[in-house]
């Protein structure tokens, strides 16, 4: 259906206000149900046996003793998940990751699973499973894995993919440069660190139908993947998304859900499977560890003449698109004549890499924005002014190909330049840094139903999981479009059997795409309500307009007809054609790209390398902030995650290839006392491809912090930091090395 998604300026009534979220009371009273809060009658406890080896051939698995244990109802291995992937290598990799088929590729790789009557029995059963491993040499470091002679995961090279982006002639550009900065940077692997571990309850019946209750960012995608892996019909598996206790990309991939379904199928009973925190770290969702070379050249006047980067990203045992995303995003904020990026996807004996908030962009931005800062300093220019002198704007051909429409990078830089934070004095041992960040934002397939109740209240059923308050923002959008109060709208996330397909809540698409579908559904509902009003008045529908939440008859001849409210129309629906609803199925194209610039002040204890975040400011373009408080929350949350990544979070592997810190004790995410208040400034540069100008806001805020903090620390201590996280031992070692040099 023709839906005009183009932006037109308007005065908003609901959008831009800050009402309470509809799921709020349940969440402050403990009533909200998350993945592990759901139970089914007769359910069993599922547990997974995981490889203790970083790399090992599985010669055999003897499950007989476990099967013989009283209370054990099913034991499965890869043999119970036969290959239905029909040559789809991406799907095959998911299958292999869910349950190792011939080799265990990392410490934590699933090799078998049990379902038993209780947790103690399940735990006992795992110990009775005998796996015959042939331990193989392993490699966990990105640079080591690329060396000739490195242990190889698969038959082909560890360099699983090469991608290249850019335009112009970088060699010629570097020849024109008067000043060049060239460095290699490294970042360690981090985890999304959602507080809720993966959890699901699976129930598969003998007739090939099933139910899955699960915490996920995309229940429709989980349905498709799980059904494909189990050889089920997609429509016979109903997936219900629970409240989700954080995802940040980590819950866009299936992990143990197919295992739970397979256990349930074999046991003939529902199976609840909840990962332990240890399993979450060892076997789900980390980012890439990276090693990145950057070279940027400029004239003494401050014009960048050429920029290049080679980006090496680990992907775990299976090829992804991680290095490619890094190569695409690296130089996105700049208007460059000559630019080239090459990405290498590197296989290592670590868990399969998963999306993490603006996946791959923070590491690339760390490398590039560090080099940009250093270059500005070399030239003697203010780092903000240097960036402004080279910034991308509407019409710029981006470093990854497309030509930009209206974008917010220039305005965020100008806002930062003028921000009081930039002028505030610094204390002893303190340094200030700033950096830019970019994320594409996604749109994609979206389906929304809008149903009008008999009393004129409205339910919107959406298919994008609410990870940060989207039920509130989508209710605001529905209220705006219909012209009714926010309180009259209730948004719910529908299950896979009651709504058409939706892509995941990823790529900052939840509010962008579902708001577009909601507007479309609301317009369809308005069309129906105009028709009903016309019937009620017995006038041509062409004479009925929709204004301020009412059907109004236009023209002097209808001047005596009082406007009809939603309620008045809905009350008569039984006599005018039945229930009133608006539906929408769209591909939400045109997600506007997003830019941010951050400022931070860091204090460093020169004797211990300890750091303290003194002040932090986020400036980001939201297109249009539907619920400004929740937009601020996204800015602050992303910044906090980036701060953790920059300073302390990292996967630490031993020489044996085992993860040394699979818990919140030694995988150190920021605690409340680590952070200051995080100031935010929302800019609104409307997205031309959304009726309200909305852009995604969820991800970009994690992109600049690594670089902003590295720049601040480098300024505080006078030594350029090139390895993330800048943990105290690393900072102190850099200082000692500088002293020795």
């Amino acid at each position: 259906m023709g839906f005009d998604q183009s932006y037109s300026a308007r005065k908003f009534k609901s959008v831009g206000t800050r009402p309470l979220r509809p799921d709020g009371v349940d969440k402050v009273t403990g009533r909200a149900r998350y993945g592990a809060d759901f139970n089914m009658p007769g359910q069993l406890v599922g547990r997974v046996l995981r490889s203790p080896h970083a790399h090992a051939r599985i010669r055999g698995i003897d499950t007989s003793k476990a099967e013989a244990l009283k209370g054990v109802k099913a034991v499965i291995t890869a043999a119970d998940l036969p290959d239905h992937t029909e040559g789809d290598s991406e799907l095959y990799n998911i299958l292999d990751n869910c349950m190792a088929r011939s080799k265990a590729f990392y410490d934590g790789h699933a090799v078998a699973a049990v379902a038993a009557v209780d947790a103690a029995t399940a735990r006992k059963a795992l110990k009775l499973i005998e796996v015959d491993y042939e331990v193989l040499p392993h490699v966990t470091d990105v640079d080591e894995a690329m060396k000739p002679g490195a242990p190889q995961l698969h038959e082909s090279s560890n360099m699983a993919n090469r991608s290249e982006y850019g335009h112009g002639d970088v060699d010629a550009g570097f020849n024109q440069a008067e000043v060049i900065v060239e460095r290699t940077y490294k970042t360690e692997q981090t985890h999304q660190g959602y507080i809720e571990p993966h959890a699901c309850v699976a129930s598969v019946n003998g007739d090939g139908t099933g139910d899955l209750w699960v915490c996920t960012q995309g229940h429709f995608v989980y349905r498709q993947v799980c059904a494909s892996l189990l050889g089920m019909d997609v429509s016979k598996l109903r997936v219900t998304s629970s409240e989700i206790g954080g995802g940040f990309g980590g819950k866009t991939h299936v992990w143990a859900e197919p295992v739970a379904l397979a256990l349930s199928r074999k046991a003939g009973r529902p199976v609840k499977l909840v990962m332990t925190r240890d399993e979450v770290f060892r076997a789900s969702g980390p980012t890439s560890a990276t090693s990145i070379d950057v070279k940027i050249g400029a004239t003494r006047e401050g014009k960048i003449t050429a920029a290049s980067a080679t980006l090496r990203y680990t992907c775990g045992p299976y090829v992804g698109m991680w290095a490619e995303l890094g190569a695409m995003t690296a130089f996105a904020p700049y208007d460059l004549e000559n630019v080239k990026t090459v990405g290498f996807e590197v296989l290592v004996n670590r868990p399969k890499v998963a999306a993490y908030r603006a996946p791959s962009a923070p590491m690339a931005a760390f490398a590039v924005e560090s080099a940009v800062d250093e270059l500005a300093r070399k030239i003697g220019m203010d780092p903000v002014e240097f960036r402004i002198a080279n910034v991308a704007s509407e019409g710029t051909k981006s470093s990854y190909g497309p030509v930009y429409g209206p974008i917010g990078i220039g305005p965020t830089l100008e806002a930062v330049r003028d921000h009081p934070h930039m002028k505030a004095p610094l204390g002893e041992n303190q340094g200030r840094g700033m950096a830019c960040g970019f994320w594409f934002n996604f749109g994609g397939q979206t389906c929304t139903d809008l149903n009008i109740g008999a009393d004129g209240t409205v339910t919107i059923a959406v298919g994008t999981v609410d990870v940060g308050g989207s039920r509130a923002s989508l209710s605001l959008v529905a209220a705006e479009e219909l012209g009714i109060p926010y309180e009259q709208v209730k948004a719910v996330v529908a299950d896979t059997s009651t709504l058409g397909y939706n892509d995941m809540t990823d790529g900052s698409r939840g509010t962008f795409s579902s708001s577009m579908a909601t507007i479309s559904a609301a317009r369809n509902a308005i069309t129906v309500m105009r028709e009903r009003a016309a019937q009620m008045w017995d006038i041509p529908v062409g004479d009925v307009v929709w204004e301020e939440g009412h059907a109004k008859a236009k023209g002097e001849k209808h001047g005596n007809l009082p406007p009809l409210s939603v309620k008045e129309i809905a009350e008569k629906a039984g006599n005018t054609g039945g229930p009133i609803a608006g539906h929408s199925e769209i591909v939400a194209d045109g997600a506007g790209v997003s830019f941010a610039t951050h400022i931070c002040d860091i204090e460093v204890d020169p004797q211990t390398g300890a750091t303290r975040v003194v002040r932090y400011t986020v400036v980001q373009d939201a297109g249009k902030a539907v619920h400004p408080t929740y937009v601020e929350g996204q800015y602050q949350g992303g910044a906090a995650q980036g701060i953790g990544w920059a300073l302390n979070e990292e996967y630490i592997y031993g020489k044996d290839g085992r993860l040394q810190n699979p818990g919140f004790l030694d995988y150190r995410i920021p605690v409340c006392s680590d952070l200051p208040m995080i100031d935010t400034q929302i800019l609104e540069i409307p997205n031309p491809n959304h009726p309200y100008g909305i852009r995604g806001v969820g991800e970009t805020s994690i992109v600049p912090p690594l670089a902003a903090i590295a720049n601040a620390v480098s300024n505080a201590v006078g030594v350029r930091m090139t390895h993330i996280p800048m943990s105290p031992p690393r900072i102190l070692a850099s200082l000692e090395a500088e002293k020795g040099a």
Partner: protein, 158 residues
């Protein structure tokens, strides 16, 4: 194996249950008593999502055995509101958008309640250190700290 019979008080109600020796108070609350407000984020006392108050002390219920509840008085998130009237902390968490995903929220509310009981007028720093045992990955803590500050102001005035 027979269970251990435990008599305790939860949110003012007398409660009796049977549990095994190795079961934690968190296991008992969630799996035996249907009180799923306390969450298991780590099971090792590092995230605070399972925080409850036992005999006036804030604890991680994952680090308490169910059997230890004998004769104690336990407060959980389910007992925080008075009927449909929310506790000022609950109201302020909503108002300030101090939650996004909300899975850490019950633990934060219990910890904040404990703080304000002991220190009705905390500084920002005192709030931050008192809540350091509760991990939140969504908010960056800014709005949580503001909600606690605001609730403290309201409660002092009450």
């Amino acid at each position: 194996m027979s269970g251990i019979a435990v008599s305790t008080t939860i949110n003012g109600d007398d409660v009796e249950f049977l549990c095994q020796a190795e079961e934690t108070l968190l296991d008992v609350l969630r799996d035996r008593l249907g009180l799923t407000g306390a969450k298991e984020g780590c099971g090792t006392g590092d995230c605070g999502a399972c925080s409850v108050i036992v005999d006036g002390r804030l604890v991680c219920s994952c680090l308490v055995l169910g059997a230890e509840a004998e004769g104690r008085s336990i407060e959980t998130i389910e007992g925080m509101a008075d009927g449909e009237k929310l506790h000022p902390l609950q109201e302020k968490f909503l108002e300030h958008a101090a939650l996004q995903c909300g899975v850490c929220t019950p633990g934060f509310l219990m910890a904040a309640k404990d703080l304000l009981t002991r220190n009705p007028d905390p500084t920002e720093e005192e709030i931050r250190f008192a809540l350091a045992g509760n991990l939140c990955r969504c908010t960056g803590y800014d709005k949580i700290v503001r909600a606690v500050q605001d609730a403290a102001t309201v409660m002092k005035g009450a």
